[in-house]
Symmetry: C2
Subunit: 282 residues, 2 copies
């Protein structure tokens, strides 16, 4: 595995691979790699000839009161994992090379990004779409991989790729879960023992919703009420949102039909966790 | 010359040229081609192996009360000119393929684009930077050409190319002028005979400013006052702005030094004309 901080070197190495007819896969990450990332990486490795992973904790996607400073960093362990999973090229840039002092250009998706997490975290998705645009232009991948755990993010990235005519295909890979079904996230490391135990309630609520939909329930309000009941039983839980939406565009629905997004964002103590499942109802 | 409306075909044809080691040049236009465009095209032809020109009147960069509908269109003559100037590929897309009904992604430069024409035409530069991003992603040129007549636009495009890591180099080519020194613009066609005659005052004001700077004058205010005098003598003229700025970032200056932008936007009747010169003062 080649590791570089240099944008010029990434462009050169990927350019050479492309000239040699290789399909370039790309997995952008913020490091602190867990099995969720690794499953993306393994999928990308299978589907491409030359695999690029980036590690960059993007300051632009954190709000002023969010966890940029304490976000977990473990580059040594990350590198070992990436080598083991046969990544070809690690892009590990410096923040001041990504955002020069006079930086002033932003990419903004203005529909999907206004909803759900976009409401709770103003500016977050603009930060995501701006860095992803930059990374797409630097790496110029054929295939790019995002996790379903951040479903709204993945949908927005699909949207900007379509709207701005990026050459890369966007692939969304399934959420990886702990044994007790908590969705893997670098932020799980923040949870106290008690919070960690209580956090299982999110998946319990999601599966309860799925069960109700697979049964006869078509009214999102009734299901959401049930989900809230499950989560509010946990003393450390504070609901940010629980939503049932059209899975294509995250728009509100009155009746459940077709591909449906069931999502939740819940604080356990100071840690905000998100999770979702997609249910098809015909 | 191959002409196509198809985004997929452009990507395919340019991709093949690139694989054959050819340098791809690109001149985006809104059609109604004049000698200004043709000088850009000739320069691009010299410097690249495969030359792509686009003609697309971009609705996104026109304000609701602006001239989108009456903007001059003459595709037949444009095609003849492009053939004559040995363009390889003409991209002439349909608006509904460029902006699908659910289009929701925008590229915004937030510093330079707030000034001068950005103040007079809110949303204009966001329209420009969004379409240019799309065209860069579709064509993936090595070299892209813009005219100095739209100096602020060229500067903003340089900025987004740097900030978002586009692979293309941005080249700015000199303003081409009529015999009486009016800067060539597709919008000159709107001018009545009387307005056309009066419009010469813009260049007279610019050269007066240059003369004063090449002399001893270092105070922008004194020079701008003189320029305004020249232009307001013309009965049809209504000044939008006259500005002397730092040519690198268009920021305000109190004393003239280094590369300096002298620019004007003036209405003659309903037609808004812009022009500028860059002066170096050491």
């Amino acid at each position: 595995m080649i590791t570089t901080k240099s944008i010029a070197k990434i462009k050169k190495l990927v350019g050479e691979s492309r000239k040699n007819g290789k399909t370039v896969g790309f997995v952008p990450t913020m490091g602190a790699l867990h099995k969720g990332h690794l499953s993306l990486i393994d999928k990308a490795k299978k589907e491409s000839d030359y695999l690029v992973v980036s590690i960059f904790i993007n300051p632009l996607q954190f709000g002023p009161s969010e966890d940029f400073k304490k976000y977990p960093r473990n580059i040594k362990k990350d590198k070992q994992l990436l080598k083991k999973h046969e990544v070809n090229l690690l892009f590990y840039p410096q923040a001041d090379k990504i955002y020069t002092p006079d930086f002033s250009t932003f990419v903004q998706e203005k529909k999907i990004s206004k909803k759900l997490c976009g409401k709770s975290r103003p500016g977050h998705f603009q930060g995501v779409t701006t860095i992803v645009t930059k990374l797409f232009n630097i790496v110029q991948p054929d295939l790019s991989y995002f996790g379903q755990k951040d479903y709204q993010q993945a949908l927005i990235i699909k949207k900007i790729a379509k709207d701005l005519n990026f050459a890369t295909k966007i692939k969304i890979a399934p959420t990886i879960r702990e044994k007790d079904k908590l969705a893997l996230s670098s932020r799980n490391a923040y949870l106290s023992r008690k919070e960690r135990k209580e956090s299982r309630a999110i998946y319990r609520a999601l599966t309860q919703a799925k069960k109700m939909i697979k049964g006869k329930e078509k009214n999102p309000k009734i299901i959401i009420k049930e989900m809230k009941k499950i989560i509010t039983k946990e003393p450390a839980a504070k609901i940010d949102y629980i939503e049932i939406r059209n899975a294509k565009n995250l728009e509100k629905i009155k009746t459940i039909e077709g591909k449906t997004f069931i999502g939740a964002a819940v604080y356990f103590g100071k840690t905000r966790l998100i999770d979702n499942i997609i249910v098809s109802k015909n």
